[in-house]
Amino acid sequence: MSEPDRVPARSERLKFYQVGSFAAGNRLVDPALRTVQSDEGRTNSITSGHRACQGCGEALGARYALDAAMRAADGRIVAVNATGCLEVFSTPFPETSWRVAWLHSLFGNAPAVATGVAAALRVRGRPDIRVVAQAGDGGTVDIGFGTLSGMFERNDDVLFICYDNEAYMNTGVQRSGATPPLARTATTEAAGPEPGNRFGQGKNLPLLAIAHGIPYVATATVADLHDLEAKVRRAMVLHGARYLHVLVPCPLGWGSEPRDTIRIARLAGETGLFPVFAAEDGVVTEVTPIRQRQPVEAYLRLQGRYRHLFDAQGRARRPELIARLQAIADRNIARFGLDRARVPTETAATVPARGAS
């Protein structure tokens, strides 16, 4: 934590510049303290003309993360991509949106391919070139998990980024191991006594990654650019297996307005449903506090995948189910100390898996 390049996400110097602390930039703030995204010289790793839906959170998250990685690595990264929306919407032959060196192989093998790229670069004596692998939640928590766990336990020098939109969106919104309870997907219909996805299933990949004891694990959302970029910057300073889990709302799969993508990601954090934190060497070291706490209903109401919880007048139809989600949010807030920005003393192992109620 004492390295000179450890720039905090928000510094006191930014505090009083109207929006300098939270918006992408500000004309009055030193350019060095603005985000990469506010800079005209940003890589634009995924350039215009890609075929992501209107308001796609994943297109945004991938550009945020890779532009920050490109800045940190002085423009020398290789990106390995799993199959998924991100790969499909960015590379319909003969066009590509990528402005970084980019490889795609299979759905489940991105961590293994990245391991191979890192090994090849080591053999070629190119420590200056850094490897980033990226996948959606399906490619990470389900299909790619075996190779990812292997990459973690070998501590291969790869930053693996998961853009989590909580289901298989590319193939028509099927449930994944990252789908939250109650969410309607094509395979968890909003019917019966327990509509939508079940409570008590799924896995919390950031906590699984922490359990591997790798150098760096962090979560972020597309709603907090300074925080996300600081985490990429930190990850790029370190070597070995590093994992970044970014929440990226999906207007198509979540049934939300395209214009609300960032708003929903922000609410995921502010309700406590998606804790934003970082861990190093198996211990949580940093928690991003909730600024304006919101009830989970505020988050649910904006999304069609939870519409079955409300009636036509917008009244809660199944308050007892919403209360169970609220209980998950409350527990996250207590366990991670999200309400008071303290670093929790509990170890990761005591934090229950996502979806447990």
């Binding site: 004309r27 209107q54 945004l60 550009r63 402005r99 993508t261 960032i262």
Partner: protein, 541 residues
């Protein structure tokens, strides 16, 4: 072809795919009217001068400010700041201290000798301005800036009107007033002191003025019939304030009662305290919430030990004592006598029951309509007499310095149009930048800066200024609390949040443009714009 690092195959770029064709709604940058600007009776562009002040460019801020208001150091002290009442930030934490920043800028200008330039070429037209109060000074200032020759006639020996003879020095130090008036004089207008205009029509013809702006104020204290013994000491509030401003302050005694509930009553009571009254009591026939005086004035008076008697009126005055009658409010809120009386010791009784305008200079202008003691004017400040305009306290409206300055500005615009023979067109007003259009998430928490106040002992015995100014760093902090409602201030958020890289930067100060070739119309930039300066409008298909 030069290719990105490690790219070997020449592939096509997705830039060939113009995703703008997907769009059904398009984002457009807009400017909205911030509530502070909307509320300012002087028509200041508050948001814009704060924008310059935020950057530490105080001179540019001041120049933007005086484009509307030539007396910022005065206004920064005496304005009741409706801008702060309207400020959207009040709904977030506390309103921006606009008035305090205005004062800081006004004081900076005096300290550094900034002065406004007269750039317009001389028009050869001559305008008579009667009365050198805030309205007359503002009109003279704006007419000079438009190139007209101005003669400013003042009946009193010194310029300033009510700012000098009505506002106590502890609210407005005379050195500040003198300096700001001097700066306006320096713009080349002819100021004639001790030069009362008794007949405006005659004055116009005698000297061949092309137009006249009348702003004689409301200088006559209103009286009420109060049965009084021979030796009762009764005076009106204006004489008290005027006398205090001159060399010979009136003798009041130790116990002073002020009748009335307006700002003048507060000024009179606070002045009495400073002149040595141990007991200053304001008697008002209604209750505090119905008092026309501004809250700040009432609070400051109470802090200085002024006492209030609500629901009472003076029934009789004698030497050393008053008889008060208790009042009650009827169902309509009107005070009614109760027939219950009590005595109150008093050495002097001060009447602060409102003021009337002396309109005798209008006698030779039958076309000028007078109703309820004030001159009737339209929104353009024109009277019924061609070429004659009026403003300030002598026309209908709230009687404050700010309103008067606004009248002067508006009159100057109409007079200019009249002299040029062009129609006077008000600039179109943008729709309001309401609070619900803001994304307040992005604004950091920042509590309001407090202005220092003089300690109470000195507030009760001297006419030293009560409220202090902000220092540079606090003024800068305060300016930066502005949310810039409805006006882009280049935070780069739209540039950062577009999933399609469809926002272009045009350079510092030039804002942004959308690249509609690629903008899919998702509207994230609209939701995430902190200040609500982007609209989403349906695409014409």
């Amino acid at each position: 072809m030069e290719r990105p690092f490690a790219i070997t195959l020449g592939v096509g770029s997705s830039l060939a795919n113009k995703t703008g064709s997907w769009r059904v709604e398009r984002p457009v940058y807009v400017d909205r009217l911030p509530p502070c600007n909307d509320a300012c009776p002087a028509g200041e562009n508050v948001q814009q001068w704060l924008y310059h002040a935020e950057a530490g460019d105080y001179e540019a801020a001041w120049r933007q400010l005086v484009a509307d208001n030539p007396l910022p150091a005065v206004m920064g002290r005496v304005c009741y700041h409706p801008c702060e009442t309207a400020c959207n930030r009040a709904q977030l934490d506390e309103a921006v201290g606009i008035n305090a920043v205005e004062r800081f800028l006004g004081d900076q200008a005096l300290a550094r000798g900034w002065s406004p330039a007269v750039e317009a070429p001389p028009t050869g037209r001559r305008v008579l301005v009667v009365g050198s109060g805030p309205s007359g000074l503002a009109a003279a200032f704006h007419l000079r800036r438009r190139g007209h020759a101005v003669t400013l006639d003042e009946a009193q020996a010194e310029p300033g009107g009510m700012m000098r003879y009505g506002i106590p020095a502890y609210r407005l130090p005379r050195a500040v007033l003198d300096a700001e008036i001097e700066r306006i004089e320096g713009m080349g207008l002819e100021l004639r002191l001790s030069h009362p205009v008794t007949d405006a029509a005659a004055a116009m013809t005698a000297e061949g003025f092309d137009a006249a702006f009348l702003a004689v104020g409301a200088q006559i204290g209103r009286n009420a019939y109060i049965p009084a013994g021979d030796s009762a000491r009764i005076l009106d509030a204006l004489s008290l304030l005027r006398g205090t401003a001159s060399a010979e302050p009136p003798q009041l005694g130790r116990r002073v009662v002020v009748v009335g509930g307006g700002n003048t009553a507060m000024d009179a009571a606070r002045t009495a305290r400073r002149l040595g009254a141990t007991d200053a009591v304001v008697v008002y026939r209604r209750t505090r919430d119905r008092m026309p005086a501004h809250d700040i004035e009432v609070e400051e008076a109470l802090a200085e030990g002024v006492r209030m008697r609500w629901l009472a009126t003076v029934a009789r005055a004698d030497a050393g004592r008053l008889v008060l009658e208790r009042m009650r409010l009827d169902d309509t809120g009107f005070p009614q006598p109760t027939g219950e009386f009590e005595e109150l010791a008093a050495d002097a009784l001060v009447l602060a029951l409102g003021q009337d305008a002396d309109l005798s200079c209008l006698q030779a202008m039958p076309e000028v309509t007078v109703t309820d003691g004030v001159v009737r004017v339209g929104g353009d400040m024109a009277t019924g007499h061609p070429g004659v305009f009026a403003g300030g306290d002598m026309v209908e409206g709230e009687r404050t310095v700010t309103v008067a300055i606004g009248h002067g500005k508006r009159a100057a615009r109409t007079i200019d149009a009249y002299l040029r023979g062009t129609p006077a067109a008000d600039a179109a007003r943008h729709p309001l930048a309401s609070y619900d259009r803001l994304n307040t998430w992005y604004y950091a928490d920042a509590p309001k800066s407090l202005q220092p106040e003089l300690d109470l002992a000195r507030r009760q015995s001297t006419f030293d200024e009560v409220v202090g100014g902000l220092d540079e760093s606090t003024a800068l902090f305060e300016a930066r609390r502005c949310l810039s409602c409805g006006n882009c201030f280049e935070c780069d958020n739209c540039y950062g949040v577009c999933p399609d890289n469809a926002v272009r930067k045009l350079g510092p100060g030039l804002r942004y443009a959308f690249d509609y070739d690629y903008c899919k119309g998702c509207g994230i930039c609209v939701t995430e714009c902190p200040c609500g300066a982007i609209d989403l409008v349906p695409e014409q298909i």
